[in-house]
Symmetry: C2
Subunit: 766 residues, 2 copies
């Protein structure tokens, strides 16, 4: 280290003069502040004072050579600037002097200059070639390790995919014109098909990778690029291709799946009608078998019976059309039929009418349309005939005799798409959290007017409380959805109905969570969050509809609840229901014992952080809601109320059960995962995330737990305090936690999140 030539009295002023003159920080009227301080500084002798005042003349600023000498003095010292100091620059000066001199007191006159000129680290940080020590950041955990845990066995696929998104075609931009936007998104979809991602989930026999779990990861990562791309990709490969894969048979697979995977053949999934969205069983489009021509005649009967909101509808040349199949005058229920929409010159086929749905709140890069069919003929072979077919003799045949069961079996095979929607919502939430947290780790506002530096948003307890539980939930839902997809893909588990019920509930709570989360992030970023460039605004518009499509969340929650109630039977009738009630009544009255007051007021940390308590609380709620619900319905039915009416009467109760069941499911999946993690710091972190999720969710239903006597007032308050405490404990790690989402640096374009990102958290794609 080079010996300093300035005496300490002068040296202490060097950082100040360097900052003042390097950045034209000072205006003529403000120099008085500096002069006043120098004149009041008793540590200076006349000669020092004269020298310092000679550097305080706006009309005669120091030479550049002198500035360079100062800069060298500062840089070579290797003193660190500690941003969290109350007076960072004064402390820096003091530390500089301490390097070379025994006596190095804190100088109040320097503090006076720092305070009165409001010189802040963000104004001069870039001038110092020294490390800026950021406040309250820990490197204890590693973002790439967390990312590795989340990627699991799909790491190679995910990393490869993230690399591919570096291509210029995925560069984020503001798109206001839907037609231009859609063209770009179409090109992106084709690009991904060229790279082989279109066939990720298809069978190996048709050139696919048979990797539905990997597909779900890709799908979530697509949200980091753009919402419209995600949905268009999903419509083409997941819904259109997926419907052929799941509902068609070998002849369809061989004929179409390769072309669909390579995006040579673009198509739609035409289920929803204007008059029938949630109640798809009631769709009106007909597919009438005409024996003479051996064709199916697709027809839109009434004015609200057109297909609506059909994605890929301006680019697609074919559609999987859901219609009431009528064979020999008998309605065999809803079936899927491949219908050509456009010929090779992209001209509409005869009898097909298509209209653009127009501008939407979001997803304007997706071409949603309305479709009308006027007696459109397609060959009998176009019926996707896995679950029901028309024989060459013109007879309908199905292995599943009950038409309702047949319909639900068909729907059940499409559950994978619902998991993917939840994942996409989760991806949007993660992106918004990464923006909001990184903004909060940079943005400052307010101080106690003794500090020079204002406080980081992330250091405010309200800010911690609004963002940290959302981060924890993202981890929980990630693991849950992974496990759910694994179950769905596990052929050893044949009962898809159980999974369908679970997925219905999870899709609802996770897409609701995603919307709440994105809104919270928008507000947490203030006005900056409102600008499109910061990405949250688009996410808000795009993710919004996730609560509606692939099943309206309220309807899905009710479905999940009915699944719980009926022990996963699809239909209630008074006979079947009574039987179910009996089972439930017995099971539940056995397990629901009175809560011990010592338990309902147990507030020690060990208990509150214990997964056993969390599991018990979630399970108690589900069981108790089920039992009371069953009792209410039974009472109504006993009074002679038709079951349909009885269910309407308890609809809000059902909704509560649907949500409770899904949260229990999510927590259990996560807790089981954590249980199998190797011992170590990451497991400890995941345990903490699980505890925060559980306690936060229990708090949200605290009024119910209190009503039941499950929680006493003291315990309920203790849980609230623990939630806040956990948020504070996680504060130093929150930057790493959002980096753990693995959003590639090249996709994180939000200016408010990317400034300094490289230094601290930016995760580079391998």
């Amino acid at each position: 280290m080079q010996r300093q030539s300035y005496p300490p009295e002068i040296l202490q002023y060097i950082p100040f003069f360097y900052v003042i003159w390097s950045d034209d920080l000072i205006t003529a009227s403000e120099i008085n502040v500096v002069k006043y301080a120098i004149n009041s500084d008793n540590s200076l002798n006349a000669a020092h004072r004269e020298l310092l005042l000679s550097w305080s003349k706006p009309e005669n600023p120091p030479e550049n050579s002198l500035l360079k000498e100062w800069k060298q003095t500062i840089s070579s010292s290797r003193v660190k600037l500690v941003e969290s100091d109350t007076y960072p620059l004064t402390s820096f000066s003091q530390n500089l002097v301490c390097l070379y001199h025994e006596a190095c007191p804190f100088n109040d006159q320097l503090k006076h200059i720092e305070t009165n000129l409001g010189i802040q680290p963000n104004h001069y940080g870039h001038l110092f070639e020294v490390d800026i020590q950021r406040s309250s950041e820990s490197k204890y955990y590693s973002a790439s390790e967390l990312d590795g845990i989340l990627k699991g066995e799909h790491a190679e696929l995910v990393d490869g995919f993230r690399s591919v998104t570096k291509d210029a075609i995925f560069e984020w931009n503001i798109h206001r014109n839907k037609s231009e936007f859609r063209d770009i998104v179409l090109e992106q979809v084709k690009f991904l098909a060229d790279k082989g991602y279109g066939t990720t989930a298809y069978p190996e026999a048709v050139g696919g990778q048979n990797d539905m779990e990997g597909y779900a990861h890709i799908f979530e990562n697509l949200m980091y690029v753009d919402g419209s791309l995600t949905i268009k990709f999903g419509v083409q490969f997941g819904l259109f291709g997926g419907s052929i894969e799941k509902l068609g048979t070998k002849r369809h697979h061989e004929k179409y799946l390769r072309d669909i995977g390579s995006a040579e053949l673009l198509g739609c999934f035409a289920m929803t009608e204007t008059g029938h969205g949630s109640n798809v069983r009631g769709i009106k489009t007909t597919a009438t078998y005409d024996r003479a021509s051996d064709n199916l005649i697709i027809h839109t009967p009434g004015k609200n019976d057109n297909k609506e909101y059909i994605g890929n509808g301006l680019h697609g040349t074919m559609a999987t059309v859901f219609a009431q199949l009528i064979v020999n005058g008998k309605n065999e229920g809803v079936h899927a039929i491949l219908v050509r929409l456009r010929d090779e010159q992209q001209q509409l086929m005869e009898g097909v009418k298509i209209e653009d749905c127009g501008y939407k709140l979001g997803l304007n890069g997706v071409d949603n349309v309305k479709i009308w069919f006027d007696q459109v003929s397609v060959p009998r072979e176009n019926l996707l005939n896995k679950h029901g077919e028309i024989t060459t003799e013109g007879q309908y045949r199905s292995k599943i005799e009950n038409p309702n069961k047949r319909f639900f079996t068909m729907l059940g095979t499409l559950v994978g798409g619902r998991i993917c929607v939840a994942r996409a919502g989760l991806g949007g939430a993660k992106f918004a959290l990464a923006v909001a947290v990184n903004h909060a780790l940079r943005r400052r506002q307010f101080n106690d007017s003794v500090k020079v530096q204002e406080d980081l948003l992330m250091d405010y307890p309200t800010h911690q409380l609004r963002l940290t539980p959302l981060v924890a939930s993202a981890y929980v839902y990630h693991i849950t959805l992974d496990k759910m997809m694994a179950s769905y893909c596990d052929d050893a588990r044949p009962d898809k109905r159980v999974i369908e019920t679970k997925v219905a509930g999870l899709k609802a709570i996770i897409t609701w969570y995603a919307n709440d989360c994105i809104q919270e992030c928008r507000e947490a970023c203030g006005g900056k969050g409102y600008l499109l460039e910061n990405r949250i605004a688009d996410l808000k518009g795009d993710v919004d509809i996730f609560t509606t499509f692939e099943g309206d969340n309220t309807v899905l929650s009710l479905l999940a609840a009915k699944g719980v109630l009926s022990d996963f039977r699809s239909e209630f009738n008074s006979a079947g229901f009574t039987a179910v009630l009996k089972i439930l009544g017995i099971q539940i009255s056995d397990t629901l014992t009175t809560i011990d007051p010592r338990y309902s007021n147990k507030v020690d940390a060990d208990h509150l952080y214990n997964p056993k308590f969390h599991k018990h609380a979630f399970n108690y709620r589900t069981q108790r809601l089920t039992y009371t619900l069953a009792m209410r319905i039974r009472d109504y039915i006993k009074k002679g109320m038709p079951p349909y009416q009885a269910f309407l009467k308890v609809q809000t109760h059902l909704l509560a059960l649907g949500k409770a069941f899904s949260k229990e499911l999510a927590y259990n999946a996560f807790a089981d995962f954590v249980n199998e993690m190797p011992e170590g710091k990451n497991r400890g972190l995941f345990e903490k995330l699980g505890a925060l999720y559980a306690l936060h969710e229990i708090r949200r239903d605290a009024e119910w737990y209190l009503e039941q006597g499950y929680l006493g007032g003291t315990k309920s308050k203790a849980i609230r305090q623990r939630v806040e405490r956990l948020c504070t404990e996680l504060r130093p790690h929150i930057g790493v936690l959002v980096s753990g989402f693995g959003i590639p640096a090249h996709l994180m374009t939000a200016p408010i999140a990317s400034e300094d990102w490289k230094i601290d958290f930016r995760l580079n794609v391998p």
Copy 2:
């Protein structure tokens, strides 16, 4: 009434054949259903049967002349079609026969046709020239009476304004290009200025109407036209003009207000900076008085110190710029100075740099910009000098010595704008509710598969619970904001600080409410709500930022809480605070008595609907939160924690208090209003709305009331049941309730709300 010539056996089939053949409802394969029914109908003789079968040949459909005869038969009968009947068309046929014949049994074969063909009223309603009797709608209340109550003494102004919005210039359209959108909005603002609305709030001395309360009504009604128009209007006349009116003196008023009111002079309100949004006291822009030139030099010192988000910034020629006023080297704190941005040729003035903020989530018709000043000179007279001025001798002078108090006095005069933002949020919420409720009164989905008609969304309990409390809240907040503006305008109440605290809290809860409400409405409309044409999407984007601008909601809630705590003093220091604690401690411990268990478990309807209970509950929460908060802070301070840190520690508690205080305030204002209403049915309705608001809000905080022992479990459950019960009771009136918002028919362009709107609820502009 004309005697019918068909025998009853034939007559009963006429409506069916009319529907079937008029609308090409039937396909070849479905005619079998009709034939089967005729053949199975034992009430027919051979001749009847032959005649009916002769009308059942797709290859030979009935002549048009016959169809006309049938239509005449139906129309002349004047039988009503009751949509809510289980089998509407069968019942209609039965009623038709009953008109002419003694014997007119319900015919199961007709029911068979109706069910199997799925013939629904929405398919044939347009064919019948008869009244369609809608289900569960009551005409007991009158929308225009409700609207009259809400308009109060501003009816003439509001009605006149609504008429003016009929002009083609206000026609709603989708605007994707911000530049075109902004041009249109500018023309709309000028048009309103021409009609005299720009000067509504200005003093009569400068040609204004001195009607700030009326201005707030106009402002809310503007939201029915467009959010961007509302905000641009507010920036020009409220913020820019208002700042001159409130912070300037006579010379400024005379020189500028007429031109501003007529939109000859367009301007901005330049307060927020990139680095300082919430903490405006810390803004960095300087206005340095230069004695030599007698000018103020406006300057942007550092890289984050530019003005940001300044509305009207591309069209404005002048701005009220907030800056640190430095006179003779001393910083006198933040002051407002008029600065010319552009010359008469709309060229930027020297030293002024302006950049478009770019696309936003919403409000893209507002031209928000960033502004940098590089040593821009303006005459000393441009200082808005009501609260502080520079004398001709170049000395600073103010009647308010404390610079903080001076600053808050200046801000306090701008509180009217904050009320207006809350009103605009409320207007957005009302519009979204009108769309969602009217949609829910038309849209059907699902049935119990015995009914022909599916159920109206509005008849689902979950739907009632999601929308009805939001409608009640809109009424409560409307009255509250009206009263708050009246207090603000009442010169007999000089202590504006008290009102400022109240407005801060109300603005936060009402704009949060508005966002939640619009989101709920979006989801309640399903995919249709996602289309821009249905208006909710735009409202969602526009109203979103209301939670941030004119004060971030979290910051405002904390401000409100601090106001409560400090007995409305602005600054805390340990001495002053201790005194406050003393007062609070004494006051509160006197009023907070232990809750009698008989009270905490009182569940009779009279008690739960009694405003005394509601007021007590709201007040208990505010008082108790204040007391416990004060105790916590005192303990921290006793332990030697600096007050700033102590306040950080209790920040989430403060936030809860801020919200609780504001809800109490809102409820009390509404309850007092209802108390002064004349006896009668409308008062009864308003009482019900108040009860629903109160019980719903108490439920939302039920976990806290339970923890405190204020509510017992039984009472808490009873409140939940009462909320659901009230929603059901209000079900027949919900259409009228949203019509009572007075949204003019010509502005309600959402297709999903406007279908049949005229028949039932549409309110015509007088």
